[in-house]
């Protein structure tokens, strides 16, 4: 039908859009409903974390890391303090390591719940699964409140341990939570996993092959959904991850459904890790004495943890002063956006939203 002349339409999705998960902008060129070109535009939330870090001392930077991936502050804290400990050669007491792992795994669950809920919201489920996810996330945030008094921007960890030991109530509440949680996940799965519409919308959509996943540097659930079995907790065990048993769930083909399902299974694994930690943890100190101004020796180090979004790494250079000479963040959300264009091209408007949702970006981390 060459008689009908059509021309592509360029639409600015965002920065104010309900489904871009923050102030993210996509300049999308549509041919009818089909996407022919995508250009992500970001930086609306750029606060210069890396520059700010250069003028703060090593403990103060913990609060900056909270504000990067603001739905997973614990993981950011851990990645950062581990780098400082490596740089300044600080030992961490065993109990602190257990508490760190417990809180990080709780944070992973909270973050994955948020990702799953918003994915379903993007699918158009009128917020019902989202609210169910938030109900459970709320309990995790309550636990964090017991730990450190904060719910979102936690700043719980310090170089050399954690800010304070968990109170006695915490352990009871934690036990209740982990005994409830598998049932809750079953409930959530019954709402989503076998839902015909969810399957129709997500299976085969937004494919990311394993070669491209590795090539484009994505990490975390997005990488594992592309059937690449790579998890730093197993590949390069840090803290006490070598003392607990857990599986690394992987996906089949790297489609949107796999990314959802990998997250769901990871939550179950996190519960396993937490319950093993509760069994193994023993009383003891939770923080090594460190000077108020930590002055690491001249040198540099890179260290990374498996955050909920992927490999969260810090590359720090010390000049022997009280603040880092350079503090570079390897932000998983940021790098996970690399294959976005290839994943989106050829799909439709509705798919764009769920593919973006399944990558699970947090703009605080993308823009830093």
């Amino acid at each position: 039908m060459s008689t009908i002349r059509t021309e592509p339409v360029t639409i600015n999705l965002g920065p104010q859009h309900p489904s871009t998960h923050g102030v993210f902008r996509l300049r999308v060129t549509f041919d009818g409903e089909e996407i022919i070109d995508v250009e992500p535009v970001f930086g609306y939330l750029h606060r210069g974390t890396e520059k700010l870090a250069e003028s703060r001392n090593y403990v103060q930077i913990v609060t900056l890391t909270d504000r990067m991936d603001y739905v997973a502050s614990m993981s950011n804290n851990l990645a950062y303090v581990r780098t400082v400990e490596k740089l300044a050669d600080i030992d961490v007491p065993e109990r602190a390591q257990y508490i760190r792992v417990i809180s990080v795994e709780l944070q992973r669950i909270a973050s994955h719940l948020m990702a799953t809920g918003f994915l379903l919201n993007d699918l158009g489920a009128l917020a019902t699964p989202l609210v169910y996810c938030f109900r459970e996330r709320e309990r995790i945030l309550d636990l964090f409140e017991m730990l450190c008094g904060a719910r979102i921007t936690l700043s719980y960890m310090r170089p050399g341990g954690v800010f304070q030991d968990a109170p006695a109530d915490f352990w009871n509440s934690l036990n209740v939570l982990i005994s409830d949680f598998p049932n809750y996940l079953d409930e959530l799965e019954s709402l989503i996993t076998t839902n015909e519409i969810v399957l129709a919308r997500t299976i085969g959509v937004g494919l990311l092959s394993d070669t491209q996943a590795v090539d484009s540097g994505v990490s975390g659930p997005v990488l594992r959904a592309a059937s690449v079995k790579w998890d730093l907790r197993k590949a390069n065990p840090y803290e006490i991850y070598d003392r607990v048993n857990f599986d690394i769930p992987i996906g089949n083909s790297g489609d949107t459904y796999d990314r959802y399902y990998v997250r769901l299974q990871e939550m179950r694994e996190s519960i396993k890790i937490i319950s093993q930690c509760i069994e193994q943890i023993e009383p003891g100190p939770v923080r090594t004495e460190t000077p108020f101004f930590i002055r690491p020796p001249v040198g540099e180090t890179y260290s990374s943890v498996e955050g909920p979004k992927g490999e969260l790494g810090f590359y720090m250079v010390s000049d022997g002063g009280i603040s880092p000479y350079r503090c570079k963040v390897r932000a998983p959300s940021f790098i996970n956006l690399t294959p976005l264009k290839d994943m989106l091209t050829g799909w439709k408007m509705g798919d764009l939203i769920i593919i973006l949702g399944s990558i699970d970006i947090v703009l605080g981390e993308v823009d830093r």
Partner: protein, 147 residues
């Protein structure tokens, strides 16, 4: 545990394939000459050889006299990691070859370095500012930036 390949070891492997590419090396990293970084990266990526298929991070550090570009590489298949560094002299228009055609992962990271550190990546397909807006004056992560 991920095996951390020392700079000396990786420089030996690189020198086997490409002479004079590595300027010097120590325990932590291998310093590669600015001109040969693209070739070195091709050797490192080669799936039959060293197989560093995963570019974890590219960082840039401003040491006043020179810029240092740091490549953190991982091999997922061998569970190894290594660090390659390049020194980039000159404060006016420092430039280096882009590795985007080797690792797609470099795409956004190189744009970020161009944006914040002002190092130009030659042959990058879309080298524009990424976090800051076009027309921003200066590159904020440089030590001499006055904001």
């Amino acid at each position: 545990m991920t095996k951390i390949i020392s700079g000396d070891e990786i420089s030996k492997s690189i020198n086997n394939a490409l002479n004079d590419a590595v300027l010097y090396s120590d325990e932590t990293a291998a310093w590669v000459s600015l001109e040969k970084i693209h070739e070195v990266c091709e050797i490192l990526k080669n799936p039959d050889g060293l197989d560093y298929s995963f570019l974890t991070a590219i960082s840039a550090v401003d040491y006043i006299e020179y810029f240092e570009i740091v490549y953190h590489l991982s091999s997922l298949r061998n569970n190894q990691s290594c660090v390659i560094k390049v020194k980039c002299n000159g404060r006016e228009n420092p430039s280096i070859d882009s590795v985007t055609d080797i690792w797609q992962s470099a795409d956004l990271q190189e744009r970020e370095i161009w944006d914040l550190m002002g190092i130009e990546f030659k042959n990058h397909p879309n080298l524009k500012r990424i976090l800051l807006w076009e027309g921003f004056d200066g590159h904020p992560l440089r030590k001499d930036f006055i904001g």
